[in-house]
Amino acid sequence: MKQIIEISHLNKSFGEIKAVQDLSFSVREGELFAFLGVNGAGKSTTINILCGQLRKDSGTVMIDGADLDKNRNAAKRDLGVVFQNSALDQPLTVRENLRSRAALYGITGKAFEERLRELARLLDFENLLGRTLGKLSGGQRRRIDIARALLHKPKILVLDEPTTGLDPQTRSLLWNVIGDLRRRENLTVFLTTHYMEEAADADTVVILDGGKIVAEGTPLELKNRYSGDFITLYGISEEEVKTLKESFEYRNGGYRIAVPDTAAATELILRNPDVFRDYEIVKGRMDDVFLAVTGKNLTGGAEK
């Protein structure tokens, strides 16, 4: 698959603070790419450089083959960015907002109306077109933000913490919409998020810490590498668990044992078939991966 974003040896400092240090990674066309890190890890700096808002100190950034230094406008044309805070005008209606933003890309008249119809159908906001932005709910506003970012049919959609502050139902709805968009428009999604369950659905995850990449791979690879598996045994006494000679904890009506991977779990079960009468094996979660890699918890925007 074609590499649509290629970042190599990217460096950026603010005075003595090295915000990004020798960062190199690539994003494949059509994939959902998750970029994780606590506040101050270098995520926003990287995104700001990618979107052309910040000059880098060194390194190269290629967007769909265009060098950001040499062909900045062409590179930006491939990007649609949804920022954490909505940048639309409260007094204007949804249609007026989108019309004024589309005009900045040179999309006007019939071309605009067609694209608006298309996006309104796709993102399900046909009934909101005449409403002022100030009267929309958080979830509705987010959908309009996404529509705004997609007006010019970008190849890459950059989502900077798109679901922060939304309720679980709206979050799920938004992800369904984004999934739909990826399928229909072969869109590449570059995502930063504080919700680990969202990162778990990504094709590739990159974790940043102190401006450097500390882990990279698919969620499965990362889980296997950094968090291991957990076996939970049910309908068993504590004395029986102790015979396994493994450390364990009592949780939610069962005894949980951490094992390095699925092979180790299988071996343990085969060695003690009498003890493993009722059990389940689960992979570690992305939270465990993040904690193992950075030693920090992601807590919705704040480092703990």
Partner: protein, 531 residues
């Protein structure tokens, strides 16, 4: 694209006409027409003031052969007003625009974004500048014979002058941005600056006629100063008379200055626009929380709420600053004032202590902290209600803050009044007793009015602070009571001496204050719980 950018910028600049930010909704057609008429009336009112100012200057200067000086002076005035209106708009447009990130992520060159942003500042600057320049031009055309070139140039000058307003606004906006990042306690600084501005405004307004007098008395000297210090304005004045070379020089100087500023800004715009200039960085230091008593913690909360809002401080705590200022003024000019009052009330000198007590009460009633205090809880009222504190404790904290912040400056003022007036011992005791009762009554009155008419659904805190009935009742209620008591004295003065009258009033005020306090603690507390 640039057209779309300009259109967007203009929509942003003038959105206040169509959109009510306080209510968070679009205005109705009638609302828009009403709003436009209101602003036109305001501009017309200001225009009339500048028209009279221009009339006083123009004819004598034109007759003395200094028509250019008239135009230059009015130009300077227009620039001052334009910069005043434009500087904060520049700061907001360039440094705080919420969609800088978005526009920079689009394939739009930063120079074009900057140009669009500046067009908005130019429009606002022009609007303010025209408040002065339109009446100035009308008066100029009435009193000065102008040729075709003169007419053409005088119509072009406001447009060029606004570029100078824009240049100055850009420089000052940048300074505001720098200063605002380095300041701690921004709210208090805002309050102080607002008061300094108000004081400066009243001072200049009071001195305007004296300034005109000075100009008319010495036009040669003023003309020489303008020519040497404000050289472009000298040429602007000459250009108004139809001098093409001066028009060229004036336009070239203004254009060159703007180009320099634009070049500097466009070089740094990317950094400026993406840098968060609105907030100063603070380093988090972990420290143990100091434990406080319940009443101490609630009082601290009320104080923090008061200090966090410049609008609240300016509208409901003006007395805190005015009372010490009055006290100092009294110490300096007390004897002159006493002399003046003795002259005014010849034969009625014993009324002066009563007047002093009334004056202290009037200034003290400019503190109406309790009046919006319940409404200001807004959507967070549930926090206080869910805490293990009673409604009485919560209301007591509101009263305490009002009393502390009013009694302390009132005590300073009262002390100074007594130093200057040297009243009898009985009056010396009765004045603070009456003032104290009045302050307590005012605090309770404001709180009860707010409990009776709370507004917890505001979107902007100016609504409970500036547009609530409770604040109006507390502020004007206090003044009406003082005026009523003053009127009552003149009815009773035939059979009550000032001392006896103040004794009766003190007792009356204490009775009313204590009744109101009891009402706050019983009915008021019940209302607070049920909100």
């Amino acid at each position: 694209m640039i057209r779309a950018l300009f259109k967007k910028q203009m929509m942003e600049v003038f959105s206040w006409i169509f959109y009510d930010r306080k209510a968070g909704k679009t205005r109705s057609k009638k609302g828009i027409i009403g709003y436009v008429i209101l602003y036109l009336a305001l501009f017309a009112f200001l225009g009339v003031i500048f028209f009279s100012f221009a009339t006083m200057l123009c004819e004598p200067l034109a007759e003395a052969g200094f028509a250019w000086l008239y135009f230059a002076l009015m130009g300077l005035l227009a620039v001052a007003l334009g910069v005043f209106g434009g500087v904060f708009n520049t700061f907001a447009s360039l440094y705080l625009a919420k969609d800088n990130d978005l526009l920079l992520s689009m394939p739009i060159p930063p120079a074009k974004i900057l140009a669009a942003r500046l067009s908005g500042v130019y429009a606002i600057g022009l609007l303010y500048e025209l408040i002065v320049m339109i009446p100035a031009l009308i008066v100029y055309f009435i009193h000065v014979r102008v040729g075709i070139l003169g007419i053409l140039f005088t119509l072009l000058i406001p447009l060029v002058l606004s570029v100078f307003v824009l240049t100055l606004s850009c420089i000052l906006g940048w300074v505001v941005a720098i200063v605002s990042t380095r300041l701690k306690n921004k709210n208090i600084i805002t309050v102080i600056l607002s008061l300094v501005f108000l004081a400066g405004y009243y001072y200049l307004y009071s001195q305007a006629y004296a300034v005109i007098g000075k100009i008319l008395a010495n036009p040669d000297g003023i003309a020489e100063s303008v020519r040497s210090i404000f050289y472009p304005f000298y040429h602007m004045g000459l250009a108004a008379g139809g001098n093409a070379l001066s028009m060229l020089i004036f336009t070239a100087i203004i254009g060159a200055l703007f180009c320099i500023v634009y070049l500097v800004l466009s070089k740094s715009f990317l950094r400026i626009a993406t840098e968060n200039r609105g907030t100063a960085k603070t380093k988090y230091k972990e420290k143990a929380v100091k434990s406080k008593s319940v009443s101490g913690a609630l009082l601290h909360k009320e104080l923090r709420r008061f200090l966090s809002s410049p609008i609240y401080m300016l509208n409901c705590g003006l007395g805190i600053i005015l009372m010490p200022i009055a006290a100092i003024a009294l110490l300096i000019k007390g004897n002159d004032l006493l002399e003046m009052l003795s002259g005014m009330f010849e034969g009625l000198e014993n009324v002066i202590p009563l007047l002093a007590a009334a004056a202290i009460c009037i200034i003290a009633s400019m503190n109406d902290l309790t009046a919006p205090s319940v409404s200001l809880e807004g959507k967070n009222l549930w926090i206080v209600q869910s805490l293990p504190v009673t409604a009485r404790q919560a209301l007591t904290a509101k009263l305490k803050l009002h009393l502390i912040l009013t009694i302390v400056p009132a005590a300073i003022l009262t002390l100074c009044v007594e130093i200057v007036l040297k009243p009898s011992v009985v009056l010396g005791i009765l004045i603070p007793v009456a003032v104290l009762a009045f302050i307590l009554m005012g605090a309770c009155l404001g709180l009860l009015a707010n409990l009776k008419m709370p507004n917890l659904k505001w979107a902007n805190e100016t609504v409970p602070v500036k547009q609530s009935m409770a604040v109006t009742i507390a502020l004007f209620g206090g003044w009406i009571i003082v005026l009523a008591l003053g009127g009552l004295y003149f009815l009773c003065r035939s059979f009550l001496s000032p001392t006896l009258y103040l004794l009766v009033v003190s007792v009356l005020l204490w009775v009313v204050a204590l009744v109101l306090l009891r009402r706050v603690m019983t009915k008021g507390a019940a209302v607070f719980e049920s909100l």
